[in-house]
Structures are given as C-alpha cells and as structure tokens.
C-alpha cells in the first residue's frame, strides 16, 4: 500500500521536475517536440528505474553493511554513469534515429540531478526494495509527464503570437513556472 502511495507521490504530487525543480536541463532542452519529449522521458524512466534498483542494492548490501554511507554520492554517480552508458549503447544499436534526435542530452542523463536526487532521497528516506522500485518508476513517469506537457505546450507556442522580447527561452521559463504552479495544486494531498 505504501508503495502505491510513493508511486503516486513521485509521479504527480512531488514531481521531480515541477515540485523539486530537479532535472530542469533536459526539461527545457529536449522539450521542443512531443515525440522527442516522450522518448527522452522513457529513456530517463528506464535509467531511473534501474538506478533505483541498483543503488538500493549497493546502499543496502555494501554501504550500510560496511558502514560507508559517506560514499553514497560517489558510488551513486558511478552507478548512474555506467547505466547511462549502457542505455546509450542500447539506443544507438536499436534506434539510430532516436539516438540522433536525443543528441547530447542522452549522455547528459548522467548529470540529470533528478536521478541522483532519486537515489539520495531513496537512501535518506530508508525505503524498502519494493518502495524504491515504485519510487523509481513513479519518478520516471512523473518526469515523462512533465516533459510531454511541456512539449505539447511548446508545439502550440510555435504558432502563438508572442511578444518579441519573450520569444524563446523567456517564454519557456514562464511556461515552466506556470506548470509548476499548477502542480502545486496537488501539494499536501499525500504525505509521503
């Protein structure tokens, strides 16, 4: 039951992008089209889920067991970096066109703070294994939701009559802020 709540909380209420403002870089960088947004979201979800599983195992069976919690940051980063490398190889092999459209943002998932945030939150809140998986999947889905919403809005913005001073980055940031405001409406619905 707790896992379900954690899943919903991570996906919507405490959305990594719109509530914690983690992972803003790909959120603003790759959200120009819905299609690439979805792909980026799915790639990130995949990395997040695997990260959650592997960092939980490392944290539980190595770091806590040998009393090394100060190594969390370093080991988590290593785990994330290796996973991203793996995803990159996999996407490059399976879908070259997706590989090209994600471009530099694919290797940059490594430095996506939403993923490190996920691993650190998981360790801090002492989730069980099931809860961690739910947290990872939920976080990834929440990231995808934010990406797709942003992609949809930005596709529409292409045809909108925007004052010249606000064209491009300023408008994107404004929209991001408004989306975050909208998501604040979920705040407090669950306390997980």
């Amino acid at each position: 039951m707790n896992a379900v709540l954690i899943f919903i909380s991570a996906a919507v209420i405490n959305n990594f992008v719109l509530a914690y403002f983690l992972g803003i870089c790909p959120f603003l960088g790759v959200s120009k089209k819905v299609e690439t947004s979805i792909n980026m979201g799915l790639a990130t979800t995949f990395v997040m889920t695997l990260t959650a599983v592997i960092t939980w195992l490392i944290n539980e069976y190595i770091l806590i067991k040998f009393n090394l919690p100060f190594l969390q940051y370093v080991t988590f980063i290593i785990a994330i970096a290796s996973l991203v490398q793996l995803v990159e190889m996999f996407i490059r092999k399976s879908s070259p066109s997706l590989y090209r459209s994600l471009g530099i943002f694919l290797p940059l998932i490594t430095t996506n703070c939403a993923i490190l945030g996920l691993a650190l939150f998981m360790a801090l809140r002492e989730y069980t294994f099931i809860e961690t998986v739910a947290f990872g999947v939920g976080g990834g889905i929440g990231f995808t939701i934010a990406m797709v919403l942003m992609g949809g809005i930005r596709e529409e913005l292409e045809y909108a009559d925007i004052p010249p001073a606000l064209k491009g980055a300023p408008m994107t940031l404004l929209v991001a802020g408004m989306l975050a405001l909208a998501f604040m409406g979920f705040a407090g619905m669950l306390s997980v």
Partner: protein, 283 residues
C-alpha cells in the same frame, strides 16, 4: 579508523571493476559498426561545431558527407583547405569552395549617427534593442558588440567609432555574428562580392538623413545609374542590390550623395593591423 579507509577503497574499487567489466561486455555486445570514413572526415573538419553548415555539429555533417547527401564543400568554416582534405579522404576530385564573409552593413558609428539617448543597462545589443538604442536611427548598429562576443574565431572587434570590424584574414564565414545581431545589420556574402549598400534605414529620406550622415536617403540615383534594369531596387526607401543581376563593378557608386553604397571599399583590415593601430593611438 584505518580499516574504514581500506574498506572504502576496496568497496569503491570493487564497484568500479564490476561496472567497468559490465560495460566492457555491453560494449562488445552492442557495438555499432561505424563507417570508418566518417571518423576520417571528422578529423578533416575544423571540429568547432559552429553549426554554419546547418547541421548540429561536425559529426552530423561528416555522416551526411560520407553518405554523399551533401557536397564535400558544405563546411563554410573550413574553406578550400578542408574541402581538399575531405576530397582526399573520399578519393574524389576536389571542388571549389566559395568563402563566405561577414559584412557589416552599417557605417553609422558614433561620429556619423546622431545620438538621442544614453543607454544604461544590460550590456548586450539584444537588451538595448528593447529600448531602441542610443542612436536616432533605429535600424543601425547598436554598438554594444554582441556580434564580437558571438565570434568564436577572434575575427571581430569594436572600432573606436563604435562599429564592429571584421578581420577578413580571420573570418571563416560561420555566420554566428549575423545570427547574434538583433538588428540584422550583418550579412553573409561570398568573398567575390564587393558592392554593398552600407545602410539598413527604412525611413524616408529626410528622416534618415537627420538620423545619420551616411544613411541611404532613398534618392534612387543608384537605381537609375545601374546598367541592368532591376539590378538595384528601392525596397522600403532602401537601395537593395539584386546580386544575381547587378554587375559588381559597373555601378558608379561615387554618385551616391551619402556614400552609403560602395564598391570595393570594404576595408581589408587584418587582425594585426587593427591592433597595431590601436597600440599606436594609445602611444
């Protein structure tokens, strides 16, 4: 205490080994056979990822080149040298590359253009553009050097007169300055062009004349003098050269009353000579 250090080192080392061996296996499994030509072409390209070719970077251009989807002279920044090198890699005849150069189409510096305001604020042209800038002319150079900042080849500087200067010995024609200029006064032209209208002012004659001493006042003298009909046209009170029709050398440009249309007078300042004269001025 000591044991913690050993355990930490062992744990990190062990994890590193596990991950790296894992990745090594994955690399073998998921290896994508890349065209070896692509890598050779990338080596031949400048590698600055300036984007002047229209692709995201040198990698993408190299891929397209290896598939023969674009010509081997598609790298505007590299020039003839790079084209020759790529031709060598691909084992085909080299083709001529026309060098593109940035041309600053405004001569209204601090001396020529009338100043009506003092701008204080964010030190970029884009920001100054919101206020209309310091000059009475709304179409000219804003003089804050956003183009100079955009140039990643060190081929531009601001002159003492407050106008950008392009060093044609350094310009590779990537067009970053043209994209950076909010007033679009910088244009990219093939290097064999010498005839330019150095003004962008679209106001009627009297207004333009008041704003700047070297403005195009829309007198249509050049239109009449041009040998080919339609070689030069007036578009919104501004003389516009139709490069496909207009002969480069037969326009009597000295007839222009404000000397804003010029032939072959694009200053061929080199980076060295520019800074040498600055040093001299400074004593």
């Amino acid at each position: 205490m000591d044991s913690t250090v050993y355990i930490a080192v062992a744990a990190m080392g062990g994890l590193g080994l596990v991950f790296s061996s894992f990745l090594a296996i994955a690399d073998k499994k998921f290896r994508v056979e890349e065209d070896p030509l692509v890598e050779k072409i990338i080596d031949a390209l400048p590698g600055t990822n300036c984007g002047a070719c229209g692709f995201a970077g040198c990698q993408q251009l190299a891929e397209k080149m290896s598939q023969k989807a674009v010509g081997i002279n598609a790298c505007p920044a590299g020039g003839q040298e790079v084209t020759d090198a790529i031709a060598k890699v691909l084992g085909i005849e080299s083709v001529a590359t026309t060098r593109q150069l940035a041309v600053v189409l405004c001569r209204g510096g601090n001396e020529e253009a009338k100043r009506t305001a003092t701008y204080r604020g964010e030190n970029t042209c884009t920001a100054a553009m919101l206020t209309g800038g310091e000059k009475s002319c709304l179409y000219g150079c804003l003089g804050l050097g956003e183009c100079v900042a955009a140039c990643s080849f060190g081929a531009m500087a601001m002159s003492d007169n407050g106008l950008p200067v392009v060093f044609y010995d350094k310009c590779v024609g990537c067009g970053a300055c043209a994209r950076a200029c909010p007033n679009d006064i910088i244009e990219m032209h093939p290097e064999d062009r010498t005839l330019f209208v150095y003004c962008r002012n679209k106001e009627k004659g009297p207004v333009a004349k008041k704003a700047c001493t070297v403005a195009c006042i829309g007198c249509t003298l050049c239109v009449k003098e041009c040998e080919v009909t339609g070689g030069i046209e007036m578009k919104k009170n501004l003389a516009t050269i139709n490069y496909e029709l207009c002969p480069q050398d037969d326009v009597p440009t000295h007839k222009c009353p404000t000397k804003c249309i010029l032939d072959g007078e694009e200053p061929s300042i080199t980076k060295e000579s520019f800074y040498a004269s600055k040093m001299k001025d400074a004593g």
